[in-house]
C-alpha cells in the first residue's frame, strides 16, 4: 500500500470516527437525562425561583431547542416576584430581555402556544417600558386565541392607564361576550365599574408614562397619555408641547389631534383650540368624534346655537359621556331652550347621583367570591341601574343580559334591553 493510500485510509477512518462520534454525541445529547421540567415547576411552586431558573437553564443546555422549556423559562422570568431595592428596575428589565430571548426560540406547535408566546412577549415589552409593542403583542394574542384572558386584562389595564376609555370599554364588552369562565364574564363588566370608581390621579399617569416616553418616544399613545397627564397635573406647558409634537409626527392620526384639542380644552386655551381646529384635516374635522371640540369653542364664544348643534352631534356619537350631556344642557339653558334643558338636567342629576354610588357598589360587588352565583341577580340589577343612570348604556345592557341568563323571562331586564338597545346602535 502506498504512502498516499495509507494516509487517505487513515483520514477516512478518522473522518468516519468523528462522524460517528458526532452522531453519538448528538444522540447522547438527545437522550441523555436532562433536568426535569416538573422539577423546575416544583421549585417555582416552593418559591425557589433562582433554583428553578438554574434548572431550566440546565435543561436547555441539554435540550437547547426545547420550545416548552424556553416557554417555561420565559414564564418564570416574567412571573416570579419582582425584585426590590437598588437596581430592581434594571434587574426587571434584564429578566424581560432574557425572557424575550427565550420566546424568540419558541416554535409554537398550535394556536394556544402561539397566543401564549404573544402574551409573554407583551409582558416582556411592558417591563421594558415598550407599551406600544406590548399592546401589539397582546392584541395579536387575542387575535390568535381570544381565550387568553390575561392578554385581555393586560390590555384593559393599559387602556385604563392611557385614558383610552373608549377602547377599554369596547374590549371589555367584547371579551365579556366570548369569555367562557362565568365568573370572569362578570368580572370583566365589574372592571368597568371599578374604573369609574377609581379614577387615576394625573400624577400617577405622569409617573407611569414618563419613563416609557423617554425610552420610546415613538410610542404614540404613551406620549398622548403623558401629555394629557402633564396638563392635568398642572404642567400644561410641557403637556401641550408634547401633544403638539405628536400631531406633527402623526398628522393623519385622529388620536393625536383629539388629545391635543382635549389638552387645550383642559388647560383653558380656547383661543388656541379654535385656531388648531382650523387646521384639522377634513376627514378628521368632519368626524362626529370631534364635534365636541367645535362645541366647546362655540360655547366659549357664547354662540349657544352653534354649541347646541355641535354638542348634539357629539352626544349622538358618544351618548355615554356625562360631560357632553352637561355642556349640551347648559348651552340649551343659556339659549333659553328651557324644556329640553330641564329634561337633560334630570338625566344629569341622575348621573351625578349614580356617580356618588359607584364606589360603594363596586366595593360590595368586589367582596363577593363567586360573581356568577345566580342569587346575585338583585346585585346585578342594582349595578345595571347604576350603569344606566351613569350613561354607561352598553354596560347596562350587558348586566341585564346576565340577569336574563339566570331568569330569561325577567320583565324588567327584557324591557331594559329593549329600551336601551336602540340607543347604542352603531356605537363603536
Amino acid at each position: 500500500m502506498s504512502r498516499r493510500s495509507t494516509l487517505s485510509l487513515i483520514g477516512s477512518a478518522l473522518g468516519w470516527t468523528a462522524l460517528a462520534a458526532g452522531i453519538s454525541w448528538a444522540g447522547w445529547m438527545m437522550i441523555r437525562p436532562a433536568p426535569s421540567l416538573d422539577e423546575a415547576d416544583a421549585l417555582a411552586s416552593a418559591g425557589r425561583f433562582d433554583e428553578a431558573e438554574a434548572l431550566l437553564e440546565a435543561h436547555l443546555r441539554a435540550r437547547p431547542s426545547s420550545s416548552e422549556a424556553h416557554l417555561r423559562a420565559a414564564q418564570l422570568l416574567l412571573y416570579r416576584p419582582a425584585p426590590e431595592g437598588d437596581g430592581a428596575e434594571a434587574l426587571l428589565e434584564a429578566r424581560a430581555d432574557r425572557a424575550a430571548e427565550h420566546l424568540d426560540r419558541v416554535r409554537p406547535a398550535d394556536d394556544r402556544t402561539a397566543a401564549l408566546v404573544q402574551l409573554y412577549r407583551g409582558k416582556a415589552d411592558y417591563f421594558r417600558y415598550n407599551t406600544q409593542a406590548a399592546e401589539a403583542s397582546w392584541l395579536e394574542a387575542l387575535r390568535i386565541d381570544p381565550r387568553v384572558p390575561e392578554a385581555g386584562w393586560a390590555l384593559l389595564d393599559l387602556y385604563y392607564l392611557q385614558g383610552r376609555t373608549r377602547e377599554g370599554r369596547r374590549l371589555a364588552l367584547q371579551l365579556h361576550q366570548v369569555e367562557p369562565d362565568p365568573i370572569d364574564r362578570v368580572q370583566l363588566l365589574l372592571e368597568l365599574v371599578r374604573q369609574d370608581a377609581m379614577p387615576l390621579a394625573p400624577g400617577a399617569v405622569v409617573s407611569q408614562f414618563e419613563p416609557v416616553v423617554r425610552r420610546h418616544p415613538d410610542d404614540l399613545h404613551a406620549a398622548l397619555a403623558l401629555g394629557l397627564g402633564l396638563v392635568r397635573d398642572s404642567r400644561a406647558p410641557e403637556g401641550l408641547s408634547l401633544l403638539r409634537d405628536e400631531v406633527r409626527r402623526h398628522p393623519d392620526d385622529p388620536d393625536s389631534w383629539d388629545a391635543l384639542l382635549t389638552g387645550l380644552d383642559d388647560s383653558g386655551e380656547i383661543d388656541l383650540m379654535a385656531r388648531t381646529i382650523e387646521l384639522l384635516p377634513p376627514p378628521i374635522a368632519g368626524s362626529p368624534r370631534f364635534a365636541r371640540h367645535f362645541g366647546r369653542v362655540a360655547q366659549e364664544l357664547g354662540d349657544w346655537e352653534s354649541a347646541i348643534a355641535s354638542y348634539r352631534v357629539a352626544v349622538g356619537a358618544d351618548p355615554e359621556d356625562p360631560r357632553l350631556l352637561y355642556r349640551l344642557a347648559r348651552a340649551l339653558r343659556n339659549a333659553g331652550q328651557l324644556d329640553e334643558a330641564s329634561r337633560l338636567d334630570a338625566r344629569i342629576e341622575a348621573a351625578e347621583q349614580a356617580r356618588d354610588e359607584v364606589r360603594a357598589l363596586y366595593d360590595e360587588a368586589n367582596a363577593v367570591s363567586d360573581l356568577a352565583d345566580p342569587s346575585l341577580v338583585p346585585l346585578y340589577r342594582r349595578i345595571a341601574d347604576q350603569r344606566e343612570r351613569f350613561l354607561r348604556l352598553r354596560e347596562a345592557i350587558a348586566w341585564h343580559r346576565l340577569i336574563l341568563e339566570a331568569s330569561p323571562e325577567d320583565p324588567e331586564s327584557l324591557a331594559a334591553v329593549s329600551r336601551l338597545s336602540p340607543l347604542v346602535e352603531g356605537l363603536e
Partner: protein, 629 residues
Amino acid sequence: MPTMHRSPRPPCRAWLRSRAIVSAVALLVLGPACSPDPSSDLSSSSTVADGSLDLPAATGPRPHPAALGSGMGSMAVDLPELPEFEPPPEQSSTIRFRDATDGSGIDFEHRSGNSPEKYFPTANGSGVALLDFDGDGRLDVYFATTRELPLDAPSSSKGNRLYRNLGGGRFEDVTESAGVGYHGFNHGVCSGDFDGDGTPDLYLANFGPNVLYLNNGDGTFRASPAGSGADLDAWSSGASPIDFDGDGLLDLYVTCYGRWTEADAERYCGDRALGVRTYCSPLSISPSRDFLLRNRGDGTFEDASESAGILRDDGRGLGVVAADLNGDDLPDLYVANDLCPNFLFLNRGDGTFEDASELSGASRSESGFDQAGMGVDAEDVTGDGLPELLVTNFRGDYNTLYRNLGRAIFHDVSAWAGIVNDSMPEVGWACALADFDNDSWPDMVAFNGHVDDNLPLLGQDAPYAEPAKLWRNLGDGRYRLVGDAGPFFAGAHACRGAAFGDLDDDGDLDIVVSRMDSPPALLLNESEGGNWIRIEPVPSGHRSAIGGSVEVHAGGRVIRRLIKGGGSYLSSSDPRILVGLGDLDRVDRVVVRWPGGGRSELLEPELGRSHRVPQDDPTPVVAGEERAG
C-alpha cells in the same frame, strides 16, 4: 403545556389604581404580583371555547421621525405656536403690596393642630375678621385659630387674638381686656351687629359649639349665653351675617363641613409601607347640612333652614358670601362646597329662598364636575352691572369664575378670563374680586397653600407652601397674572383665610392673611392707584345693608359694588365700600341701593374721602366725615 391562567384579581389592581400615591416603580413592581401565580401548574387544563374578537389592527412601533428623513407623514402641519404660558406675567404692574407685619405689634401665631394622625379638621385652617370694634374709625383685626385634637388634649395654642388698630401701621393686643380670647377649634369668624346696638359683634364658627361675642360698646365683649341657638354644636366652617327676612334683625348663615369624629381618624391615608401619612380625601367625610339661623331679636336664634327652603345635607360647606346676586336688592347666598355642588340660594323676599344651585350653572364646572370649592367672592368684573362669582379650588383644578348672564344664569368663563393655567398648580383658599389699584376694575387674588406637608416624601412634586397669586383685570373681566406684586407674592406660604379692608385709611384695600402655624401677614397696599371714593352705608335702625349695593355714576359709566357679608374664606372684611375710579376726576352721583328697596343719593361727592350715607336721610346729600385721603 402552559396553563390558561385565570384572569388576575382586581383587588390588587384596585390598590394600584386608587387615588393613593402610586409610583411608577410600584406600578411595574406590583404588576407581576397581580399576575397569575407563577408557581401554578404549567400543564394545560382549560377547555376551548369558540369566539372571535373584532380587534383593531396590531401595528408595530412607528419609526421615529428622525429615521424618516425629510417629509414625514402625508402632510406637514403648521400648528399655531403655543403661548408663553400665558403671556408672561406683568412685570411692571400697577399693583403692589408691602409686607408690614414686622413692627406692627401683631404677634399672633396660628395653630393648625396638624399632627402625625392627620385629623381631617386640622387641614382647613382659620379666618380673619376686620371690624372697628371700638368705634374709633379704624379697622381692628381679629384672628381665629384652631388647635390640636382631641379637644381635651393639651394645646400650645394661645387662642384667638384681637388687635386694636392704633394707626400708622401699629396694633395693640387687646384680647384679654376685650374678653374675646377664645381657646378652641375656631375655623371661621364673621362680624355683624347681631343685637342691633350699633356695635359690631363677633361670631365664631367652630369644630364644637359656636360662640357669639356681643360687643358691649365699651371695648369689651360678652359671650352670648349657652342655649341661644347661636351656639350650634357641629363642625362649622364659616359664617355670614344676612338679614334674610328683612325684619331688621341680623341673621346668620353657617356652613358646616361634614360629620367627623376621632374614630374617623383610624382610617389611614398615605403610604403605610413608607410610614408617610397624609390627610384623607374630602370624599372620606360625609357631607352635612348648613344652618340658616333666624335672629328672634331677643338674644336667641332659631333654625330657619327648612322653612326658608334651603335645607340641604349634600354639601361640605366652607366659604359663603351673602350679596344681591340677581339685581333685586335682596341678599342671596352662595356657598362653596368641597367636592360637592356649590349652593346658590336666591332670596324671594318672603323669608324663603329659591334653590337655584343646579339650574344656575354656578354649582359645577363648565363640564359638570364638582370642584373642591373653598373660598368665594362676588362682584361685577365685566362692568355690565351683574355680579360674577369666584370660587377657589384644589390643585389640579382651576379657580372658577362664573359670569353672570342674567336671569339667574351663570356660566364658567374661567378659560375665557385667562385664569385656568395659573390657578391649577395651587390649592386655593381665601380670595377676592377687589379693585386693588383703583382703576375701577375689580382684580382677583387667591391665597394658596397645600393641605399636606409631606408629599415630597412620596415622590410628589407638591410643596406645602405655595405662592399667592394676583391677577389684574384688563378692563373687561379678563385677567392677567401680576408677576411682581411684592415680596409676599414672590414667596411661598401655607395660607388659609384673608380679609380685605383699608387698614391705614389711605384709600386702597389692604389685606390680612392667616397662615398655618405661622404669624399672619399684614399686606399694605402700595399700588399706583387711581382716584377713589369710599361709601359707608348707614342703614336706619342699625339694620344691615348686606344685600344692597353702591352705584357710582361717573364719566358715562355706572360702577356697581355689592354690599356683602362673609366672602373670601372663613373671614370677614371691611364693611365700607371703596370704589376705585381710575382717571375719573368727578362723580356725578352715588346711589346706595338698600336691601329690600329704597335708594339714597349722594350728589357730586368729593373724591378721595369717605362719605357716610344714612338711609334715614330722604334727600340727596353732599355729606361725609372728614377722613384723610
